[in-house]
Structures are given as structure tokens and as C-alpha cells.
């Protein structure tokens, strides 16, 4: 349904992710779409944001050349600190990371995320947590980016790799988590936020061309809809221009 539009669904998602980043925030940057979202925000409205990468990289400037993975040498060049993974994790655990982005295979109504095992019994093997569990546990807030399909949007995930709000309000405190939780879910169909009272996911905006019915059809539970439901703003020409420089081969956002 994006055929008539001048941008791809991935471009819309990356742009939405970028807009979640505020100037001067410390962002723990993951791979693929989150990496692009961070670079886009740095290029536009949040030039003062600091990027932390789990490999042991902190940088305040943009890499001087396009990068496909966070370990590409332009991402090390003229960075502000090259250190241990443990250093970046300590910064995260100490509460110094404002925001992170994670992706997943399965999410549920409380924002719990699964990237480890699916099926009942658990039988389909996925790559695993990486740093996602740590980011979901320890960042001040985190944002989930993923494809919106019924098999992925389930009432209860098969396995909690990255804790969201568990089974609702108070759960994080009860299990011993010191802060954080998901603040948004950006999907191929819309943007979701979390109800402060119930900690349940609420549809906040639908992407242009997407209907409420599309969302209900692809969601495995009866999703609540915000009474201030809006349409996700489209990427601006400037955003698209920068994004296409960053992903100049269209590798991540070309389709």
C-alpha cells in the first residue's frame, strides 16, 4: 500500500524512531533500523545526542562514511571513547542511558519481547538476546521496532528475552528491575505507547494508508486504541534525503 507513496514503510519506521530521540540524550544504539534511526536524529534535530554501542564504542559525532554494522571502521574513527563492552554495560546499569531501541520476533500486550525461542513447546530457535535483554532491563526507556504480523503480536510471548512490563503494573519493581520499560513500539502498521495505569500497549498512531482494521487483523489480542489516535506523520523530504544518504544502497530501508 506504499506504492503510491514516495517513501518505503522502513523509511517511515526509521523516521519515527529518530523522532523519539531528544537533543543531548545518551542513546544505546543497536544494529540495523535503530542504527539508522540514531544516525538520522544526529543529522537533524539531535546533533548533541551521544551514541553508545555494545562493542565498546561511544561517539558524539556522525561516522564520516556510511556504515552497515556498528563495527565498521568509520564508526571507530574519531570516536570519543573506545572501551570494553563491560564499560558500556556498566554505564547502562548505572542509569546513564536515556534511550535504547531493540527489535524482536514476538511482542505481547505488556511489551515483553522474545528473540530466543518460539512455539509450544519451544522449538524454533532464534539468534537470542544479544544486548536486548540488558537494554530492556536497564535503560531509562526503550523502544521496540518490529514487523507487525499476527504471529508476532501475541497476547503473551512464548519466552521473555527482554522484559517489558511483565504482567502489568508493579511487575518490574517486583522482579527487581530498577527502572525503565518500553515507551513505544514502532511497527510496520503504527506506533503504540503504554498506558501508565495498566502498562498495556495502546495504539497511538496509524501509518498513512493503514486502517484500524488492518491493525486489529494483525494483532493477536484485542488492542486498545488511544482516544487521541492520530496518523503517523510522514517523513519530510529532508529526512528522506538524509536517510537515503545514510543507507545509500537502500540496504535497510529500500523496501
Amino acid at each position: 500500500m506504499d506504492i503510491k507513496r514516495s517513501y518505503t514503510r522502513s523509511e517511515l519506521m526509521v523516521t519515527a524512531a529518530a523522532r523519539e530521540i531528544t537533543e543531548d540524550e545518551v542513546v544505546f544504539v543497536g544494529m540495523r533500523l535503530p542504527l539508522l534511526g540514531f544516525l538520522l536524529a544526529k543529522s537533524l534535530h539531535a546533533p548533541g545526542a551521544t551514541g553508545i554501542y555494545e562493542l565498546g564504542i561511544i561517539r558524539e559525532s556522525l561516522a564520516p562514511a556510511p556504515i552497515l554494522t556498528m563495527g565498521d571502521l568509520p564508526n571507530l574513527y574519531m570516536s570519543h571513547w573506545l572501551a570494553d563492552t563491560f564499560d558500556t554495560m556498566s554505564i547502562l546499569q548505572a542509569g546513564l542511558v536515556d534511550l535504547s531501541f531493540i527489535g524482536g520476533a514476538q511482542v505481547d500486550r505488556y511489551g515483553n519481547l522474545n528473540t530466543t525461542l518460539t512455539g509450544k513447546p519451544l522449538k524454533t530457535r532464534l539468534p537470542g538476546s544479544g544486548g536486548a535483554c540488558d537494554l530492556a532491563s536497564l535503560a531509562r526507556r526503550h523502544i521496540i521496532i518490529m514487523a507487525h504480523e499476527k504471529r508476532r503480536f501475541v497476547s503473551k510471548v512464548d519466552y521473555i528475552t527482554s522484559p517489558g512490563y511483565g504482567n502489568g503494573k508493579g511487575w518490574r519493581e517486583k522482579v527487581g528491575l530498577v527502572r525503565g520499560g518500553p515507551s513505544a513500539v514502532i511497527t510496520t502498521l503504527g506506533i503504540f505507547r503504554f498506558d501508565q495505569e495498566s502498562c498495556e500497549m495502546i495504539l497511538s498512531s496509524v501509518h498513512p494508508g493503514v486502517t484500524l482494521n488492518d491493525i486489529h487483523k494483525e494483532t493477536g489480542w484485542s488492542i486498545r486504541v488511544s482516544n487521541k489516535l492520530s496518523e503517523t506523520p510522514e517523513p519530510t523530504p529532508k529526512e528522506l534525503d538524509i536517510l537515503r544518504q545514510l543507507d545509500y544502497q537502500g540496504y535497510w530501508t529500500g523496501k
Binding site: R125, S129, G130, D134, G176
Partner: protein
């Protein structure tokens, strides 16, 4: 004069990586992955290895596909640029490989504990997650001062660490720069350490900048000269990431049959690192070489 630890890749692997060994490698995460050492492990037909690391960018998938692996203790196994590791998935789903599920932080803590000589370390991560169900090295512990619940991560002390560095002398005094991942923890937690190095240099070169040293030389068991030994991953100061090889690997590993062809072509038939480099070809090397140099400024260690 202390005895040199310099040896061939074949000697280092046959001397320190045995059937059933636990091996920490890929410790820099996406950079300086010791592919040459990993491929020699495959050629020597090691079995029942336990592989340990946070994330492994296709090397674990290759070792698994070649049948070398019984257990994986890791946070993520796959192909960073494309996602799924197909050999890993196949082997786990056929119950050929067991997985101890970590996060990047819990595996770092496990190796850190091993490096520090304690049997566990506390953290605030992973609480409420199901990692506790698929990893026996995770429990909880209560802080004796605050009463706060912490996750407790059991120490890991691998039999051997395989780490790729930029420069080493013959005794294992080595310089490494760039993102360090868990390389220091890998070296300090392991009983034996194999360093593969882009360059072998004099001890004097190393001692001129002792803050650049990765770990004390006395921890190192073997030093192997391995130029291009981390290709297709990048090595700061030496070569860029060969994205195409990682992208191509997706198709080359999607089926067991495709993987067998890949294995024969890139590992078994090239015999050793020299053969691999020759097969790689000069134009590929030239393409990956550092084009825009950026040198650190000297600092003074005089008196």
C-alpha cells in the same frame, strides 16, 4: 631470555584446542574475529567444543555447521548483517547443539568473574526474563547491605581463549586498539590463551606504549602470525569489513547442502591461511585496505 611462544596456526590449535575444550572467541564482538583460527579448528576436525562469547558474527555458525560444537554459551548467534544463523538454528532444532542463553551483559559478567577469581558477580540485568530458565549459570542473590535483589551470574573459566590482536611480540605482549568487546575478560578468565596477530613485532615496540597492551604476556600460551586472520571482519588499522562475504554467507548457509559447498571452498580446500589469502586475491585485499589513514599522536613515557 624467556622462550618464544611463536608457533604456526596448526601447532597452536593442535596444542591448545582439544576435543571437548571450552573455547571463548569472537571476543571483540563484530571486529577482529579470529576466522583463521576458527577455520583451522574445522580443518583439524575438533568435536564437542563448547563455544563461548557474547555475539558471534557467523564464525560460531560455521563451526556449528562443520560439526565441531556440542554447546554454545552465548547471547546471540547469527549473521549480524542479515540476522539468522542457519547452521545454528538447524543444529539446535535437531538437538545436536545445546544452548546456554545469555545476554551480552551476563556473558560479560561470567567471564569477568572468571577473570577476577570470584565464583559469581551480581548485576541488575535480566531480572524477570526467561534467561533464568535456559541458563543454569543465572540465579539471584540479595545484597547484604541493602536487601535489594540482584541477578547472580556464575563465573565461566574457559579452557582456552582465541583472540585476534593487531601486534604481538613472540612472548604474548600485545597491542590491541579499537572496540575491545570482552577480549580482556576472555584472556584473563582462560587457562590457555592463543593470540593471533596481524603483525609480530619486537618487545620494544610493545613496551613503548604499555597502556596499549591488552593483557600481561604471562597469560599467553601461543602467538600466531596471522595477517588477514580476521577477514571478513574488520581489524582497526589493517582492513575494513568485507560486507559482501557476510551477505553471501546468508545463501551459502541457508541449507546444509549449500553450506557444504561453502565449507569446501573457503575452509577445507584452502589448507591454511596462506592459501586463504591467495584465494581471496589481491584486488579484494586492496579494496578492503585502509584508504583514509588516521594516526594517533605520540605520548611521552619518558623520565
Amino acid at each position: 631470555m624467556k622462550p618464544s611462544k611463536l608457533m604456526s596456526m596448526r601447532e597452536a590449535i593442535s596444542g591448545f584446542v582439544h576435543d571437548g575444550s571450552s573455547v571463548v572467541t569472537c571476543a571483540n564482538l563484530e571486529t577482529s574475529i579470529p576466522f583463521a583460527a576458527g577455520h583451522e579448528i574445522i580443518r583439524q576436525g575438533r568435536k564437542n567444543l563448547t563455544l563461548i562469547c557474547p555475539i558471534s558474527d557467523i564464525l560460531f555458525d560455521q563451526l556449528i555447521g562443520a560439526g565441531c560444537v556440542k554447546t554454545v554459551r552465548a547471547a546471540w548467534v547469527g549473521n549480524v548483517i542479515t540476522g539468522i544463523g542457519y547452521n545454528f538454528r538447524r543444529a539446535v532444532e535437531k538437538n545436536q547443539v545445546e544452548v546456554e542463553d545469555h545476554s551480552n551483559f551476563t556473558i560479560s559478567l561470567a567471564l569477568k568473574a572468571g577473570a577476577q577469581g570470584v565464583t559469581f558477580l551480581p548485576s541488575r540485568t535480566a531480572l524477570g526474563s526467561d534467561l533464568f530458565g535456559t541458563n543454569k549459570g543465572l540465579k539471584t542473590v540479595v545484597c547484604p547491605f541493602t536487601g535489594l535483589l540482584h541477578s547472580a551470574v556464575a563465573a565461566i573459566m574457559p579452557d582456552v581463549a582465541v583472540v585476534h590482536v593487531q601486534k604481538s611480540d613472540s612472548y604474548g605482549n600485545a597491542h590491541a586498539w579499537g572496540n575491545m568487546g570482552v577480549a580482556r575478560e576472555a584472556i584473563m578468565s582462560s587457562r590457555n590463551v592463543i593470540l593471533t596477530a596481524e603483525e609480530i613485532v619486537s618487545t620494544e615496540t610493545i613496551c613503548k606504549d604499555p597502556n596499549r597492551v591488552i593483557a600481561p604476556g604471562f597469560k599467553v600460551s601461543a602467538v600466531v602470525h596471522a595477517p588477514w586472520g580476521a577477514h571478513p571482519s574488520p581489524v582497526p588499522g589493517y582492513y575494513n569489513r568485507d560486507h559482501k562475504k557476510f551477505l553471501d554467507y546468508q545463501e551459502s548457509s541457508r541449507t546444509q547442502e549449500a553450506f557444504s559447498i561453502w565449507l569446501e571452498k573457503w575452509v577445507l580446500s584452502v589448507k591454511n591461511l596462506e592459501g586463504y589469502i591467495a584465494f581471496l586475491g589481491k584486488s579484494c585485499q586492496s579494496e578492503l585496505s585502509i584508504k583514509k589513514h588516521s594516526y594517533s599522536e605520540p605520548v611521552d613515557y619518558g623520565y
